[in-house]
């Protein structure tokens, strides 16, 4: 009797896990092994030639490809601009709309809207706004700034994309900061007020230190997601990476190599290089913020 119920429970668990197990095998485990193999093969999707083992040739080709190396630099440049900008704005907004203003529900809702808006729609709206004769330039020309096509000049395309990315994702980080703020007990602020601490002191001495785990968590999430940026760069810059390739990101480069040039072997090698970069940078961040923050 006892054994039968146990077997029954195992069987139930297996049935309940079956969709996950199937999906894991077909869309995760096997592809991961396969991707690793392809990265060592001469694997062109076009043509009938069977894949051939080529050792590290794909990695060598990836790491000597100027466009790929540039895409790594472009992506890091993008991350370094986006991560602090969006987290600082998100933190400021979160602290304010947590309890300091009226209509906070309205502000929260408004700030979150871009995060539910399709990146394709967002890109297209900003392609319109940032045109040479677009409305942003019309406003800027009033304060003496020469109109330019922000997405079409090598030195401006990435900063312009950064502004779109920040606009699009501040709301998400604001909400996670709000959840962090809600865990800080009121008594701490009350005690500080009794001792005569002002708003700024409370922010520096209570809010930010207690929010440190959340700040770390958001930094990691934001950093990883910026390293994997695809949509904005591809829609705004195309598969050539915009003016002089300055909008080319690592993932657009993988996409281009795999699905435009059908060079699956080199693209897989690039994907593992990107994986390695993300992995190493995440480890460094963890060290930087201290082990006790490990989420």
């Amino acid at each position: 009797m006892r054994n039968r119920t146990k077997t029954q429970e195992y069987l139930t668990a297996f049935v309940m896990l079956l969709p996950y197990i199937l999906s894991f095998c077909v869309f995760f485990a096997y592809p991961l092994v396969k991707a690793f193999m392809i990265s060592f093969q001469n694997f062109s999707f076009l043509g009938d030639a069977p894949p051939k083992f080529v050792g590290l040739a794909n990695y060598k080709e990836a790491l000597t490809n100027k466009m790929f190396l540039d895409s790594i630099l472009n992506t890091l440049y993008y991350s370094v601009l986006v991560v602090p900008t969006q987290l600082i704005i998100a933190l400021i907004l979160a602290v304010i709309v947590n309890d300091k203003v009226k209509f906070k529900e309205f502000f929260r809702t408004t700030y979150y809207l871009p995060t539910v808006t399709s990146p394709v729609a967002v890109s297209i709206i900003f392609l319109f706004l940032y045109k040479t004769d677009g409305l942003v330039n019309q406003i800027l020309s009033h304060i003496g700034i020469t109109p330019r096509n922000w997405f079409n000049e090598p030195s401006f395309v990435m900063p312009a994309i950064v502004s779109v990315a920040v606009w699009g994702s501040v709301g998400f980080y604001m909400v996670t900061f709000l959840s962090g703020l809600s865990t800080i007990p009121d008594q701490l602020y009350e005690a500080a007020e009794v001792e005569g601490a002002g708003e700024f002191i409370k922010l520096i001495k209570i809010t930010i230190p207690l929010l440190k785990p959340m700040i770390f968590f958001n930094t990691v999430v934001s950093f990883i997601s910026t390293l994997q940026m695809f949509d904005l760069s591809y829609i705004i810059g195309g598969s050539d990476g915009g003016p002089m390739g300055k909008a080319m990101t690592m993932v657009v480069m993988i996409y281009r190599t795999a699905f435009k040039e059908f060079n699956m072997g080199v693209a897989s090698a690039m994907a593992f290089v990107v994986f390695g970069i993300i992995f190493v940078l995440t480890l460094i961040q963890r060290k930087f913020f201290g082990e006790e923050m490990s989420y």
């Binding site: 300091k100 539910v116 706004l129 959840s179």
Partner: protein, 277 residues
Amino acid sequence: MWMKENTYGIGVKIVLYTICILWALITLVPYLIAVITSLKPVEDVTKFSVDFGKLSFSSYKYITTEFPFMRWLFNSFVVAVAVTAGNLLFNSMAAYALARLSFPFKKVVFYIIIGTMMIPGQVLLIPIYLILNKLGWIDSYKGLIIPWLVSAFYIFFMRQYFLTIPKDLEEAALIDGLSRFGIFFKIFLPLSLPALATQAIFIFVGNWNSFMWPSIIASSEELYTLPVGLNSFYGQYYQFWNQVLAGAILLSLPTIIVFVAFQKYFVRGIVTTGLKE
């Protein structure tokens, strides 16, 4: 809470409200301009001023009748609804097994689920494409839907939620002779509606907005989802900004409506449980 609002000086208040209103304007003005421009005739699109007499829905009518926008909208709905339904069922099933059943290698399975979340998706893109190609699922609904029916993150999420449901409830039901599946469907799912709603909304919105995968899988125009269709439309008709922006509004509206209707699950939902009121 009671003492806060009045303790600020007027100067601090002005600064706080200025920041709030400024960011609200930064957020809302692009939408507003997009909506107004989509209603303008094409010759007026770069004009700052608005001639209210000339505004009309003609560009919406044009793109939805002369171009397959309705078809793309339909495809997006079919794919997003199917993916959402699959995730709600399959993630919850796996989560129930992990939260409540005992079986061999349970810990291993749990750590695998956590581990899969750390692998960036681009690594798997190419082999998954090759698998779907072998199965003949490229350029089909299957290819758009089936790889996304399960999500490790939401299995983890649902497991955490199920752990909070009291064990007594389940034991009572077992004694009453309800099967494990009965418990799952009749007790756990109904008790988890807030978590299921949160999951549904995030998965629907995420899938609705996804661009890279459908642009790889959907190669024929009839199978484009709306983001892919709009991007290709923009590529050809970029000078017709009223129509392009009408398409962008059409693409944005469903998720904005879902968000505004269910926002408590977004802003005050699971991420902010326990938020002070």
